[in-house]
Amino acid sequence: MSGNNKHHISYGTYILVWIALLAFTSITVTIAGVNLGRYTLFIALTIAAIKSALVINIFMHIKFDEPIFKTFLGISGATLLVIFLLTFFDFLYR
């Protein structure tokens, strides 16, 4: 059974997402030039997360795919998060 979903994304939507990605990139580069101390990293990572969300949801089509894919993503994302958290709890409190 072909599972090809019928949802087709238009060229225009892809281009809009691309423009957004470029805009976020330029914001990140600009922010890095301004001395915001420890906030620079936080902002840079937040922007990276937003860019990732755009790529994953639209370019990689997760938003329009069967819900199981979002579940997959959620579980593996949570796993990665736990790995990071446990590592940080370890080394921060030695």
């Binding site: 059974m1 072909s2 599972g3 090809n4 087709h8 994304i9 238009s10 060229y11 892809y14 281009i15 997402v17 691309w18 990605l21 470029l22 990139t25 990140t28 580069v29 890095a32 001395n35 620079t40 990293l41 840079a44 990572l45 922007i47 990276a48 860019k51 990732s52 790529v55 994953i56 639209i58 370019f59 990689m60 089509h61 795919d65 069967e66 199981i68 894919f69 997959f72 993503l73 593996s76 796993t79 990665l80 790995i83 990071f84 590592t87 940080f88 080394f91």
Partner: protein, 201 residues
């Protein structure tokens, strides 16, 4: 044994959703691979001193990869719309961008190496531990990422051939979608590599 008529219908079992799931599962293993290295970076981050990577080249490569993600997505959209030629054009452009990325990476690496900065070099070993670790991580992570770009280029080349020979068609294009997924992952990894290695103070 049942009677065969002149025409035997072949039911080729296709499971496109299953194929896509398989690809995503593979992508998760890739995320864990790079995630582990990002973790090392995160833990030792405060030992890195001021970094000297070329922000312009890094930004250029970021733009190149983001645009290549666009072109691979457009290539799928084109094929979905039945436009085989346009799909091939977009894939070729994607390949070109990938090549540009590798060329810039080549110049970045050779510049650093010509300044004596490479894993195990006397110049690097003379620096503080934080710097040694930073450049070690830089070479391993961008190296592994570059390897993934090369593999992606091979995969995309195969897709070009498949589409040209009608093995991947507007009715059967999950291979192209999966190739796109792989390529977007390469872009995603770079989305995190770039600020962490090029833009931190």
């Amino acid at each position: 044994m049942s009677n065969h008529t002149d025409t035997v219908t072949h039911h080729v079992h296709r499971d496109d959703v299953g194929a896509k799931m398989g690809m995503w599962l593979f992508l998760f293993t890739e995320v864990l691979l790079f995630g582990g290295m990002f973790l090392v970076y995160a833990v030792y981050r405060y030992h890195f001193a001021a970094m000297e990577l070329n922000t312009t080249m890094g930004t250029l490569n970021t733009i190149i990869l983001l645009t290549s993600s666009l072109t691979v997505a457009l290539s799928i959209a084109a094929l979905q719309g039945g436009n085989k030629f346009l799909s091939l054009v977009f894939l070729s452009v994607t390949l070109l961008f990938a090549l540009m990325f590798m060329v810039i990476k080549y110049f970045e690496w050779t510049t650093k190496i010509s300044h004596g900065i490479y894993p195990g070099s006397p110049e690097l070993l003379g620096k503080p531990n934080g710097q040694i670790l930073f450049f070690g991580l830089y070479y391993v992570m961008t190296g592994l990422h570059g390897l993934h770009v090369l593999v992606g280029m091979v995969v995309i080349s195969f897709m070009i051939v498949f589409i040209a020979r009608d093995k991947v068609t507007p009715d059967n294009y999950v291979k192209l979608e999966n190739s796109g997924l792989y390529w977007h992952l390469v872009d995603l990894i770079w989305i995190f590599l770039f600020p962490l290695f090029y833009l931190i103070q």
